[in-house]
Amino acid sequence: MMSEKKTVTLKIKRQDGPESAPYEETFTIPYRQNMNVISALMEIRRNPVNAKGEKTTPVIWEMGCLEEVCGACSMVINGKPRQSCTALLDQLEQPISLAPMTTFPVVRDLAVDRSRMFDALKKVKAWIPIDGTYDLGPGPRMPENKRQWAYELSKCMTCGVCLEACPNVNSRSEFIGPAAVSQVRLFNAHPTGAMNKEERLEGLMGDGGLANCGNSQNCVQSCPKGIPLTTSIAAMNRATSLQTFKNFFGSDR
């Protein structure tokens, strides 16, 4: 029926461990319809033989939801950081290059350690403290127009793409990155969360905080969820500017 079997070529930047040197390995796998990068990686895992026909170790990567809401499977695909679950092979130019994100320490192959992002969320207290010894009852209501834009911010999945795109997030800087800044805006917009908004703003004003943003605005261009990150950054710039004056000159909370 078909004269020749279609194949897919992938060039993968691999690394055996956090301290070892990276190297490139090419794989040629049989094509199936509607493949994504993850199914291609699964194919390599099933039959770990490289393009030269040598047996090798399976390529390691991280994944979770497979529907672009968990953020675990981010990697640099053909030069752009994105989720591998929604990277369809039919839409990618071959050979497809896969590499781990460079902003984060590599664990192995395509799996990176995004601890930096989770530490940032802790630093800015990106949660709403409601735990206590008795039921506090329902919180204040949230205006619908505010809920609408706040919902957009809540789509952040800590995937790391904005940090990867940011020229100011790197090994030489402690910058917490755009994602955590936007989360402060989200939790400060919440009527119950607003009760602790100063604490989060203080977190943003710490070392490596919001002020380290250089306004390259790559984050907003790269976010797979279309979160208005630069609007969040500017809004938090305004909030921290005001907070500085309040702290210095004094104000009733």
Partner: protein, 202 residues
């Protein structure tokens, strides 16, 4: 809790670039512009600036100390970034990159310019129309001054855009886009002022 050193330094860096340094640039370019009205007018304007009361206080607190902080901290900021315009060729990323390049150019130019004029003046030379004619008669100097002035004016105009974001004045994408146009018009307008003044000396 007091704001961190990062926060205060960054904010101060952004503020000093506009007040007083940005205002000083405009004032300096305006005095230079008198050269388009002839040597006499330029010398009068330069002499007026020279004979301002408490001149050293003005020079130290309006120019040298802010300039020193802005320059040194600016170099630290510039070399902290890992530029990636080849992979993310968006306009604002280019502006981010150009801001850092122009900053380094301005630092080199201003260091040379201060040595050639202000320090020479302190050592007895007279800063006047003829001094600039002598300097700019050298084509290499003319090129340095053209690049230096354009770099300075760009760094100020684009820095003004960042200032409006960093202090939280322009929050919406719409206002930020409007400021891109406003600051680029400022860049062009001040470039015309600077270039006309430079060419008045040749």
């Amino acid at each position: 809790m007091a704001a961190s050193r990062d926060f205060v330094s960054r904010k101060l860096h952004s503020l000093l670039g506009v007040i007083p340094l940005g205002l000083f640039i405009i004032q300096h370019l305006t005095v230079n512009y008198f050269a388009t009205r002839g040597p006499e007018a330029f010398n009068d304007a330069a002499h007026f600036m020279e004979s301002l009361p408490y001149r050293y206080v003005l020079e130290i607190f309006v120019i040298f100390l802010p300039l020193l902080f802005h320059a040194i901290y600016g170099v630290y900021i510039a070399f902290q970034s890992k530029n990636n315009v080849s992979r993310y060729g968006y306009l604002r990323n280019w502006m981010f990159y150009l801001q850092r390049i122009s900053g380094v150019i301005v630092l080199i130019f201003v260091t040379w310019h201060v040595w050639q004029t202000r320090i020479q003046a302190a050592m007895g030379a007279e800063v006047n129309y003829q001094m600039m004619v002598d300097i700019l008669s050298n084509p290499a100097m003319m090129i340095l001054y053209i690049v230096g002035v354009l770099g300075t004016v760009f760094h100020f105009a684009n820095g003004l855009w960042s200032f409006f974001v960093s202090w939280g004045f322009t929050v919406t994408p719409k206002s930020q886009r409007a400021m891109t146009y406003v600051t680029m018009i400022i860049f062009i307008a001040l470039s015309v002022v600077g270039m006309r003044a430079l060419f008045a000396f040749v």
